[in-house]
Amino acid sequence: MNLYEGMFLLDNNVVREDWNEAKATATGILEKHGASVTTARRWAERSLAYTIQKRNRGSYLLVHFEADPDKISIMRRDLELNETVMRYLILTCDGVPEGEAELHEAELSADFSVPEPPEDHVVDSDEEEESEEGEGATEEASEEAPAADAPAEEAKAEETPEAEEAKTEEAEAPAEEAAEASEEQTEEKSSEEA
């Protein structure tokens, strides 16, 4: 038997209904394969760094458990198949960290309640398309006015390292040329009209 640390990303929709039920699905899979859970506690509820399974928020469960090393691969397969567990991470660990047992005990007490997870803005495919169109429109606008773009690039260059500064300088030069060229063209046109 080895000691492991497991982190599970749980679906907020299940957590909203009942935290203990969501927790039990994860720990249940571990116990099904002969693991003994030492501590299990809510680690955080936070917004994800990127969209996972069309969700932008999730609840994290931190578990320390003892298990047979041969059973870990079977646990992994079960966790992959489970829909409540969106992501998981199982690592070996030397010992249960200090304070972890107290937090586990605190969660078992009767007056412990899980705050309601905030509403998740689920990204639909339609919305994505709309936002892409919006970006395209702004790009077109910037192409039409290359001279207006130049100050923005200068501002960027101040923030970014030297390597990128060189790039933006190169980019500015053709933009200015283009602006001059367009001015010449308009002058020619006006002279023709006259």
């Binding site: 982190m7 680690w43 760094a49 990127y50 999730g58 931190l62 992501r87 991470l89």
Partner: protein, 69 residues
Amino acid sequence: MARPVKKATRPCDDPRLDYKDLETLSKYLTPQGQIHARRRTGYCSKCQRELKQAIKRARHMGLLPFVGS
């Protein structure tokens, strides 16, 4: 023969880097989400590997971005 001494920002006997310690890890990411190079972190090869491992674990769990916003 004296070896060239590298300026280390973190002594190797410090506590190990943990994937849950997002405050520390996010210091070693560029705004685009890339991990800082050795010459920027000043870490020895062992510590740099530890840093890489911790950041990649955090990324897998959706705690840190693969690509910055």
